[in-house]
Point group: C2
Chain length 147, copies 2
Amino acid sequence: MADGNQRIDDIVVRLREHGMRMTPQRMAVLNTLIGNKEHLSAEAIHDRVRADYPMIGLATIYKTVSLLKEMGEITELNFDNDCALYDGSGESPHPHFICSQCNTILDIDDADLESLPGEVSHKTGYEITNFRLDFFGICPNCQKNNT
Amino acid sequence: MADGNQRIDDIVVRLREHGMRMTPQRMAVLNTLIGNKEHLSAEAIHDRVRADYPMIGLATIYKTVSLLKEMGEITELNFDNDCALYDGSGESPHPHFICSQCNTILDIDDADLESLPGEVSHKTGYEITNFRLDFFGICPNCQKNNT
DNA sequence: CTAAGTGCAAAGTATTTGCTTAGGA
DNA sequence: TCCTAAGCAAATACTTTGCACTTAG
């Protein structure tokens, strides 16, 4: 969590530069999301933060993640289901694997994919700033349980 | 639209095999979506179909696309924004490019990507049944207009 | 001190559900 | 005829907004 703290400090600086303030509530959301590999819904963030700040409202969570999203500090993941998940790992766009059975979301690290945007950009003439890659299927754990 | 008609016939057969019926409303939705390269929202489908069936309700559109989605005939695309788009092109999972400026969605055909699920499956042990790949950036057209 | 942020509740919006009537097979 | 589907409206669930009060800088 050391680099998480460094990132948080940087975010605070950038907030202040834009006339925005660091509040205990925002800090709590940052601590929950930044440098963490989890994928949390607004409600899940709310539940966690409430452990320390019982009065915090869900709207504040939404306002904060919306802000962090605009700053490019966190990524919003929308799947076919109901609610959005937030990823504050800070790792450049990385693929996810979603198990259709247990709904677990796993990060995939595949160095081969780093060249993907560049290749597609070159072939198509599109200027690519971001991408998203999701795989759906059955994770090894569920495969085992199914047999 | 010739192969679109063939696909529609096939879908009708499969519907009947499962005790489901072909109605004029469903046929209208099929004609709007199947074999078409557009990406339409439920509302957009509703608007188009209403030209021929003024009485059709939005709920019927949702029920029909939900059915087609379960049958695997169409793909639902959720982006960070509000509503889902439906893709009835019938082409196996293909990447999309979304222009951040004009919001146009373009299909990308890249044969190199067809091996992607197999590779990732092999490397990770996940059994991959589907994937989704979206690129975000600026399309050539908007690039030109920006200069 | 002052402008930005919080908390609450109400509003908004995409989608689903229930129920009655219509209409395929 | 029988049972699925349509149509409408109400319900649901996530997210956003408005406003009075609080608080960071």
